[in-house]
């Protein structure tokens, strides 16, 4: 039997923007087992619900993660609104949808860049992030924040976007779309990228399903799960086509995210066409009493917030289950049998967001 050696991967590693630790058990160059350990960014802010009023906790919920911050805020607000049976105005729901999709665009572009960096394409990394800045500019113009927006509140949204600006945004997306076309062409057609990604880190459909993969990780393996189909915010009124691939390798996950960029653009443009006039928030009185599980689709997959209130202004319990946490068991499965040099690519292919995971 070949001698086994253990190589630690992380927490500080050049390819990882965030710390996660993996113990890789190797036989020669082959990984036979990967043992993850997390907890480097655990802050324990779920317990802060006992110290912050439920209206203020939106800010904390948003800071679960700086990449999908808006969607965390939205999901939390949605939960409280359900408990308190608040009717949110249509226009606010559409604006939330628009900002969610902008978050997805910026998150996927960020991922494409980091992914390119993981297989050694630095120029591609720079280009993806250059286009991403155009998305962030719109975020900043409409919400005031680049990565942490703070524009969601219980009962609606804090800011409105003028009709003129919406038209401009929709027009700009056409030209962003053209740039994305060029960028994704490289990811999807380049021979050396294909060589690095095809048949690497394969996750079968059954494994994806039974290990609880969510989001693009699941969709790359042919499990067509998308929480946007549940029709929260204004998604019920938009025409959404779920993107899924069947191969289950790193390339398939990359294809899913590349195609989702265009679905996001399409969703925003549909929302701009359909957005109704009206108020953007309602006054919320009273305190939440009851519990609710609220779900939404983050760029990384299904996000669940569990909220429980007892009629006071402080909630009793908040529990956040983030997509990366459920994607770690599939990741461990993907790593089994891969080569050591492919580990960074496979780890990044699930789009790990450790700040979310460890909360």
């Amino acid at each position: 039997m070949t001698k086994q050696i253990i190589i630690p991967f992380g927490p500080q590693h050049p390819v990882l923007p965030e710390p996660i630790h993996l113990d890789l058990v190797l036989e020669d160059e082959m990984v036979v087992e990967a043992i993850p350990s997390i907890g480097y960014i655990h802050r324990g802010f779920e317990k802060l619900v006992e110290k912050r009023e439920f209206t203020e906790y939106v800010y904390v919920a948003e800071r679960t993660c700086g990449i999908c911050s808006f969607i965390h805020g939205l999901t939390y607000c949605q939960g409280i609104e359900e408990i308190m049976q608040v009717e949110v105005p249509e226009r606010a729901l559409f604006l939330r949808t628009i900002w969610s999709e902008y978050s997805r665009l910026h998150s996927h572009l960020l991922w494409l860049g980091l992914f390119a960096d993981s297989f050694g394409f630095e120029n591609l990394f720079m280009n993806a992030w250059r286009i991403r800045e155009r998305i962030l500019d719109v975020m900043e113009q409409t919400t005031g924040g680049r990565v942490i927006q703070g524009s969601c509140k219980i009962g609606g949204v804090r800011r409105d976007i003028s009709g003129e600006k919406l038209g401009q945004m929709s027009k700009d997306l056409d030209s962003i779309g053209q740039e994305l076309e060029e960028l994704t062409n490289v990811f999807l057609r380049d021979a050396s990228i294909k060589h690095r990604l095809k048949n690497v880190g394969v996750l079968s459909r059954d494994d994806a399903y039974s290990l609880g993969a969510v989001g693009p990780t699941a969709r790359g393996s042919g499990v067509s799960l998308d929480m946007r189909k549940t029709g929260y915010a204004a998604y019920g009124k938009l025409n959404l086509e779920t993107v899924a691939e069947n191969d289950g390798d790193c390339y398939a996950r990359c294809v899913v995210r590349c195609r989702e960029l265009f679905t996001s653009i399409d969703l925003i443009q549909q929302a701009v066409r359909k957005i109704p006039d009206g108020p953007t928030d309602v006054k919320v009185t009273g305190t939440p009493d009851g519990e609710y599980f609220t779900r939404s689709e983050q760029p990384r997959g299904e996000l669940v917030h569990y909220l429980k209130g007892n009629g006071t202004k402080f909630l009793v319990r908040s529990r956040i289950r983030t997509p990366t946490l459920t994607n770690i068991p599939p990741l461990v499965k993907m790593l089994q049998g891969c080569e050591l040099a492919d580990v960074p690519v496979i780890v990044l292919s699930i789009d790990p967001c450790i700040s979310c995971t460890e909360r």
Binding site: P19, Y40, I41, R43, G44, R63, T64, E133, S355
Partner: protein
């Protein structure tokens, strides 16, 4: 910027931030903000680095990691704490697992404010750090324990 004779390299570690500051650090390296024009490169190896960028507060599990990276960076070195969490714990300061700012475990030279810190202020912080780095280098030279090669330029 006359003292910028060498290319200062940075190393970035996410202590326990929400990611917001981390992606802004990376954004500062990419075309729109482009700190590479100052010769600044992000490295993954502490032994190659001059400037240590830390985001987020420290907790029980990562304080050893932060200390470890700091100790591996060769002298002279400068620490830049990015974002309000790295300064005081910020919005998370009352969480049970947050010990406080990065200055609890390592000496910090520059604090960059903001939640999340904007790329402009990160660049400003790094440029301030360059000045401190030069002062530290000169102080080391005076003491005579600078690692020099024969031509007299600092390593």
């Amino acid at each position: 910027m006359t003292y910028l004779k060498k290319s200062p390299w940075v190393i970035h570690y996410d202590a326990s931030s929400c990611n917001g500051c981390d992606i802004e650090v990376l954004a500062a390296l990419t075309p729109v903000y482009d700190v590479e024009r100052f010769g600044i490169i992000n490295t993954g190896n502490p032994k190659h680095a001059d400037i240590f960028l830390v985001t987020g507060s420290v907790n029980e599990q990562n304080k050893e990691v932060v200390k470890n990276i700091y100790e591996q960076i060769p002298e002279p070195k400068v620490v830049v704490a990015i974002g309000i969490c790295a300064a005081s714990g910020g919005i998370f300061r009352e969480c049970y697992n947050v010990l406080g700012g990065v200055d609890k475990v390592i000496p910090v030279d520059v604090f960059v404010t903001g939640c999340a810190a904007r790329p402009e202020s990160i660049i400003d912080g790094v440029v301030t750090a360059l000045g401190i780095l030069e002062t530290k280098r000169l102080a080391m030279k005076e003491k005579g324990n600078e690692t020099m090669d024969k031509s007299g330029s600092a390593v």
